[in-house]
């Protein structure tokens, strides 16, 4: 699955993450540290992901 990490604008490939919470775990993020977007829709941690999905993970901590 292709994941775009923002604001770093870094593409990563992650396999078999299952649901959003597992994807965030693999990215070493807590659910309160990022919003997860698929086709302009926000996903809650329980939502299942497909290998074909294009996902944006937007980290939310502001720095300065």
């Amino acid at each position: 699955m292709q994941i775009l990490i923002e604001p770093d604008n870094k593409m990563v490939h992650i396999e078999r993450s299952g649901n959003v919470i597992n994807l965030l775990k693999k990215l070493e993020l807590r659910p309160n540290q990022a919003i997860v977007i698929r086709e302009n829709e926000l996903l809650t941690p329980d939502r299942m992901l497909d290998e074909e999905d294009k996902i944006v993970v937007r980290k939310i901590a502001s720095r300065g």
Binding site: P7, R30, I35, T44, P45, I60, A61
Partner: protein, 301 residues
């Protein structure tokens, strides 16, 4: 997960409220949290003229949108810090946002004030974050007073407030603990300052910005790397993850049960600010921090 209000598919899960919301209901939730803060903490009245400190980030733009939708008399002030790339980008985001929402925007350029942040940083040779914050607070306050605004509103959210409280507690800084809160009353030389987003987390403002289609600037400040608040926020995120609701309970508990004691102690023992002999801004030093800095920088006027 289903929306707690309407049972549609939830878009935002909020363990701290034991709830989930669909996009429409989340925006209702967000607006109610802002209204609750304004009402319960008596932040301002419908007749107030409110200046909003705009940085171009999600919090200040979310605040400006919500106060505009609630019908308050608002205008924005963007302070251009003159940081290459980042200030130009942030200024463009603020400009577009204000044009789209019909918000009157003022811009103050620190280059023209003789205090561009990159030059200040070079001169000081130490982390510039606290000085930058001091300069911004000074000019936001002065602009509000000089231009007839009765309230200055900032986009500080729950995470900002809890990280600051944590930092103040770690240092037992009684002066800061005595006046930390979502409303600071107007005093001689100070406009009333309010934080209407204090009940909302950074995660909640990020969701709101996305759902409201706010085109905010999320490029980090190049000077903020390693800032202690960023570290405190990650510690507190872990606490919130393990114990949802801890942040708001910690902060509300402080406001309701602890702040008054620190404020009383400061009234008895703290230094009383006097007007700066150069600019009139209240200060406990001989001249205020910004005038001292202007002298170091050789700035005119």
């Amino acid at each position: 997960m289903k929306c707690t209000r309407c049972r549609a598919t939830a878009a935002v899960a909020l363990p701290s409220h034991n709830a989930g919301f669909c996009p429409d209901c989340f925006q209702v939730f967000f607006s109610r949290q802002v209204q609750k803060a304004i009402k319960e903490k008596d932040l301002f009245q419908p007749e107030d003229k409110i200046l909003i400190a705009l940085s171009g980030g999600k919090d200040s733009l979310s605040l400006a949108r919500e106060l505009k939708l609630l019908g308050y008399d608002t205008a924005g002030l963007y302070i251009d810090l003159a940081i290459p790339d980042s200030s130009v980008k942030a200024g463009e985001h603020v400009g577009r946002f204000c044009r789209e929402l019909g918000i009157n925007l003022h811009v103050l350029d620190l280059q023209k004030e003789g205090l561009p942040i990159p030059e200040v940083q070079k001169k000081l040779r130490r982390p510039v974050c606290s000085v930058c914050g001091q300069i911004k607070r000074y000019y936001f306050n002065r602009f509000a007073l000089d231009n007839g605004y009765s309230v200055l509103a900032t986009g500080h959210n729950l995470d900002d407030e809890v990280a600051r409280l944590f930092s103040n507690v770690m240092r037992w800084d009684t002066a800061y603990l005595g006046d930390q809160g979502p409303a600071l009353p107007a005093q001689e030389g100070f406009v009333r300052k309010v934080k209407p987003l204090y009940r909302l987390s950074e995660f909640e403002t990020a969701n709101y910005s996305f759902l409201a289609g706010i085109d905010y600037c999320y490029a980090p400040c190049p000077y903020s790397r390693g800032a202690s608040f960023t570290f405190y926020k990650s510690l507190l995120d872990e606490l919130e993850h393990q114990q949802p609701g801890r942040k708001i309970n910690f902060y509300e508990g402080f406001l309701n049960r602890a702040r008054r004691a620190f404020a009383r102690q400061e009234d008895l023992e703290g230094l009383k600010p006097e007007p700066c002999p150069v600019c009139g801004y209240p200060t406990t030093g001989e001249v205020c921090g910004v005038c001292r800095l202007r002298e170091i920088m050789g700035a005119k006027g």
